[in-house]
């Protein structure tokens, strides 16, 4: 855009930009090709734009979302590559069926590494949404299904998975608990009744109604 005020480095390229621009915008302005590591472009919900950033004068490298992070003088940015598609925690939706008293056994069998959490807090500091990731892992590993709530706002950016030295995949563990507890234990009465009415033909649509006025 207009005057360049700050200089940042993205994947080794020096870019002059303004402090009002996000990292993604700065790349676009600079004429860089942006066809990867982008999705919602600012809302911060798709988890595609994962970066490591280091601010000038600081030694710490932090993880962040490029669409939400604004440029500042001396900012160093490196995009994180795609995770390999191989997933070592594989399960089917009927994992808990059968004996639901044995849920903890199933959690341990499906995510065995969760027992070895080092409590290092790596996941918590990696999370761009500041979720209580470690707490969620602890709860799940103890068979407490309220672990699910810790991941309410998780965008599945996988930054905690990258950060975890024990290969626990905290976000996938969280989602596993969320999905399975919902699938076996969420049965709102009004929905149950409505499905029943429709199935029995007690509720049908007359497409020829003359009036579509309220």
């Amino acid at each position: 855009m207009q005057t360049s005020q700050v200089r940042i480095t993205v994947n080794g390229c020096v870019i002059d930009t303004e402090p009002t621009r996000s990292i993604l915008e700065a790349m676009i302005d600079a004429g860089e090709t942006l066809i990867d590591g982008v999705g919602c472009m600012g809302q911060g919900v798709c988890g595609s734009c994962r970066v490591l950033v280091r601010r000038q004068g600081e030694s710490e490298v932090l993880s962040a979302l490029a669409c939400e992070t604004r440029a500042c003088e001396g900012l160093q940015v490196a995009f994180l590559d795609h995770l390999p598609m191989h997933r070592h925690h594989v399960y089917a939706m009927d994992d808990w069926n059968g004996d639901s008293w044995r849920i903890l056994e199933r959690i341990n069998a499906t995510f065995p590494e969760a027992q070895h959490c080092r409590h290092c807090g790596g996941c918590d500091s990696a999370c761009p949404k500041h979720l209580e990731v470690h707490k969620g892992v602890m709860l799940a590993a103890a068979g407490d299904l309220s672990a699910a709530d810790c991941f309410d706002e998780c965008i599945m950016c996988d930054l905690c998975t990258i950060a975890c030295p024990e290969l626990i995949s905290p976000n996938h563990l969280g989602l596993y608990v969320r999905r399975l507890s919902t699938a076996i234990g969420f049965r709102p009465a009004d929905l149950v009744l409505r499905l029943h009415q429709i199935e029995r033909g007690e509720m049908v649509i007359d497409q020829d109604v003359a009036s579509t006025q309220p």
Binding site: T20, R21, S22, E25, I28, T33, L34, I35, D36, V38, G39, C40, M41, G42, Q43, G44, V45, C46, G47, S48, C67, E68, R70, H82, M85, R87, V90, Y91, M93, D152, E153, C154, I155, M156, H172, L175, R178, R179, L180, T182, A183, G185, F186, R187, P188, A189, D190, L191, R194, L195, I198, M203, V204, I205, Q207, V209, S211, T212, Q213, P214
Partner: protein, 550 residues
């Protein structure tokens, strides 16, 4: 565009008496002068294809009447992969189709342009409609939807949507999606229901104010863990394959990681590529995700599918106008319905905030065009005054405007102290490809589902019906495709439809050097022609061009 300096405007806002706005004498004139749909020259008539003669926004028409970038020769030597069902697009509609097709025993490939889940689906906040309330019925859902769409939706599709909606919610719960409860616990409780604008009953189900995120992360995980589905990320569709009869028999994908074409021969192709926001029709910012460039629409049209309500788009009045990294981001109508005022840079209200959406949008655009907007860091908009609302009705922000709070904080604003800057944003494509209840189109072998299809919303979509549409019709298309697919690929696949298409373009005097689909927004600095010349398909007829497919 310039406006009144932000700091000055803030001072005037504090001094403002918030007097009621003057009534608009001539709504028609306002719309004509400032609304994008009515603006002189914003629509043109299509000269080729199944909808020849229909009106359509100029920028979209240019894409719909574009030429294919590839030739038979480009495909020689490309690897060929066979499948029964090929699904294009990794949003909610594509995932629902893929999961259902796989469950029905079909061999499935899901190919997507970015990464699975990078979509409009993940961005949806408000919720999803389904008539589950005691006071509600599927008949009401049907009638409300028809009425909201100004009576021009396809009744069969709307009936299908309304009657399948409760079952689609069950399907989502079975895959692990949660919904908020109004009362009681997970077993035996009642679902929380909100009332969409224009409905007669509360019918929107939601998970907090990130329903789309909850839906998408569940569907993405389900697809990624389903070993029956082959998932190809970063493989955009660039052309459909046809046989001599003009049937759709597969697709040409471009693998962005390997820089090469892949030919997929498929008995059934399901397009679920979503919307068009990133074409920035009429130069509007958009609430849509980065991949919303109408690719599926362009290719379906080129192979012969008919479209409908092509000139009908939703411009939402309150998109973010500052800061630029959230430009176009959606601020839901909840703020205005709760009583928030819109003010210009003079500290004046200028429109009844609860007037029809198109009127509010036009009025905001008028203020900006006539220099009464507010300028901050080069961006121009008007104020949405949340602080004043909070003073008038303390607690509104915390109770009714939670997602606005999130958004404001993202923008570095304390919403209880500082007003948001807003201007209209391009939000949704109401029309699209003509389909039947199973998602089939006028082209044998080709299905369309989700935002790119048309007929369900008529000329105006009710909130919550888009998320319902993608699940209901995504599932139906997936099931029908898997059941009707043949195990054997068509004997002769090629680009047969392109011969006729190019003849039409020439006959209509259309340029042959405008290529489509775009694949990425113009500012992505991606030049497909250049990419191909440099590293992709070994040969290309066309010289590299300096910039995008613009």
């Amino acid at each position: 565009m310039t406006g009144i300096d932000h700091r000055l405007a803030l001072e005037r806002l504090l001094a403002s008496d918030h007097a009621a706005p003057n009534p608009i004498d001539d709504v028609e004139a306002l719309l004509k002068a400032h609304h994008p749909d009515y603006r002189e020259g914003s629509l043109v008539s299509l000269a080729v294809g199944a909808n020849r003669g229909s009106e359509c926004p100029t920028a979209l028409a240019a894409r719909l009447q574009s030429n294919a970038r590839i030739e038979d020769a480009d495909l020689a030597g490309a690897p060929v992969v066979d499948t029964e069902v090929l699904i294009i697009g990794g949003g909610g509609a594509g995932c629902a189709a893929a999961l259902t097709a796989a469950e029905a025993g079909g061999r499935v490939i899901l190919a997507t342009k970015l990464r699975i889940g990078d979509s409009n689906t993940v961005m949806a906040e408000g919720g999803i409609q389904a008539a589950v309330g005691e006071d509600d019925s599927i008949q009401r859902h049907f009638e409300d939807t028809l009425r909201a769409g100004h009576g021009c939706a396809d009744r069969r599709l709307v009936a299908c949507l309304a009657s399948s909606a409760p079952d689609s919610i069950r399907w989502l719960i079975d895959r692990g999606m949660r919904f908020d409860l109004a009362e009681g616990g997970a077993i035996g409780g009642k679902l929380l229901r909100k009332k969409p604008g224009g409905a007669t009953r509360a019918r929107i189900l939601s998970f907090k104010d990130y329903t789309g995120l909850e839906m998408m992360r569940v569907l993405r995980e389900a697809v990624e863990l389903d070993e029956r589905i082959r998932l190809w990320n970063r493989c955009p569709l660039v052309e459909l394959l046809s046989d001599e009869a003009g049937h759709c028999v597969g697709a040409v994908l471009y693998d962005l990681a390997l820089h090469s074409f892949v030919l997929v021969r498929a008995s059934r192709v399901i397009l679920a590529t979503g919307g068009v926001g990133r074409l920035h029709l009429n130069d509007f910012p958009t609430s849509n995700h980065y991949g919303a460039t109408a690719d599926g629409l362009v290719l379906a049209y080129r192979i012969g599918a008919a479209l409908r309500e092509l000139d009908s788009f939703q411009y939402h009045p309150t998109g973010v106008a500052w800061p630029s990294f959230r430009l176009g981001g959606l601020i839901s109508e909840a703020a205005r319905s709760a009583g928030a005022h819109l003010l210009n840079g003079l500290g004046e209200r200028f429109v009844d905030e609860l007037a029809a959406r198109d009127v509010v949008s036009a009025a905001i655009l008028r203020e900006c065009a006539e220099g009464r907007g507010i300028e901050r860091e080069g961006m121009v908009g008007v104020f949405l005054d949340i602080p004043e609302l909070e003073r008038r009705q303390p607690g509104t922000l915390a109770q009714r405007l939670v997602s606005l709070g999130h958004l404001a904080r993202q923008c570095g604003i304390d919403p209880s102290r500082e007003p948001m800057m807003v201007r209209p944003t391009l939000h949704y494509q109401n029309g699209g490809v003509v389909i039947d209840e199973n998602g089939t189109t006028s082209v044998p072998g080709l299905y369309c589902t989700g935002e790119l299809s048309g007929g369900i919303h008529g000329r105006n979509r009710m909130m919550g019906n888009a998320l319902q549409e993608i699940i209901t019709f995504g599932r139906r298309a997936g099931l029908h495709a898997a059941r009707s697919a043949s195990r054997h690929p068509a004997p002769k696949v090629g680009l047969f439809h392109l011969h006729g298409w190019r003849r039409q373009l020439v006959a209509a005097g259309m340029p042959l050097d405008r290529f489509g689909p775009d694949l990425f927004p113009s500012y992505a600095n991606f030049d497909f022609g250049h990419e191909l010349a440099l590293r992709g398909g070994k040969r290309t007829m066309y010289a590299p061009r300096a910039r995008g497919v613009e």
